[in-house]
């Protein structure tokens, strides 16, 4: 890559860092200052403004794994495998945060940290699938077979997400029904200020995803470059 292109990419990266920082700060102001306290649950309901974005970010990350895995199996291009691997790691981190913040929210509202209902159990299964995906990549021999097995697991794992989404509609669960996208329309079940804060938080977390993705992809590419040079050194000596 020529120096001009490197500089341009760095500049784009800096803009994204500032946009993400600004977005997260604005979301924090919205969550703790602007938005009114919910009438029935009280102050604890404010967890929603980062619990839902964490869930959104993890689902989006797993969707990227799904698409990149299909593209890898089709095109056999290592680039798609890098994107899938990078996105799976981010997805697992944010799915873990969903599984942590959910019980913290549930304890004062439901009187229990955890219940084995359809939404919670299927989210735990999703987390376990992608932890297995990362373990498969970490434990097996490097090469195209590892990438292929991981891609298949990445695709199969994503099929759980529609099940998670519809689980609260198909079964009677403790977990609340969707509030943003309802039968009456988008955002009809929420106060406009709550909807705006949630929207802002969702945007900030989406920017955060792209920022983290940039770092994770760079990490995988650096590893590849080191491996390539090591192999070169081995063959030359």
């Amino acid at each position: 890559m020529n120096p001009d292109a490197v500089e341009e990419k760095q500049e784009e990266g800096n803009i994204l860092v500032w946009l993400t920082a600004f977005g997260l700060l604005a979301a924090m102001i919205g969550i703790f200052i602007y938005v009114p306290t919910e009438r029935t649950e009280g102050v604890i309901q404010r967890i929603m403004y980062f619990h839902v974005p964490c869930a959104w970010l993890s689902f989006f990350a797993f969707f990227v794994v799904f698409i990149c895995s299909i593209l890898f199996l089709w095109k056999k291009d290592r680039e798609w495998d890098i994107y899938a691997h990078a996105s799976a790691g981010i997805g697992v981190v944010f799915c873990s945060l969903v599984l942590i913040t959910g019980p913290i929210w549930a304890r004062p509202i439901w009187g229990a940290w955890w219940v084995w209902d359809a939404r919670l159990t299927s989210t735990l299964i999703l987390w376990l699938i992608y932890v297995a995906y990362l373990m498969l990549r970490a434990q097996s021999e490097e090469g195209s077979m590892r990438a292929r097995y991981a891609a298949v697991l990445g695709i199969v794992g994503f099929l759980n997400i529609p099940f998670i989404h519809f689980s609260v509609l198909w079964w009677r669960t403790f977990h609340p029904q969707p509030k943003v996208i309802t039968n009456e329309g988008i955002g009809k079940g929420m106060d406009p200020s709550m909807l705006a804060t949630l929207g802002l938080s969702l945007c900030a977390f989406t920017l955060l995803y792209f920022l983290l993705m940039g770092e994770r992809v760079r990490q995988e590419k650096l590893k590849d470059e080191i491996d390539r040079l090591k192999r070169e050194k081995l063959y030359s000596s």
Binding site: E41, G42, I44, I47, F50, L97, I104, E215, Q219, K230
Partner: protein, 47 residues
């Protein structure tokens, strides 16, 4: 209803988790960059 301690705990996990993840990513990338530069230097000296 006042459950501030739960809200505080959730905040600590989310923001602490994000900051920790970003920090470890940055550290790992910095270490890899260092390794790569060292390797390049060694290779250029050898040949």
């Amino acid at each position: 209803m006042d459950n501030l301690e739960f809200l505080f705990a959730a905040n600590v996990f989310v923001w602490g988790g994000i900051v920790f993840y970003v920090y470890t990513l940055k550290q790992r990338n910095r270490a890899l960059e260092k390794d790569l530069n060292l390797l390049k230097e060694t290779l250029s000296k050898e040949g």
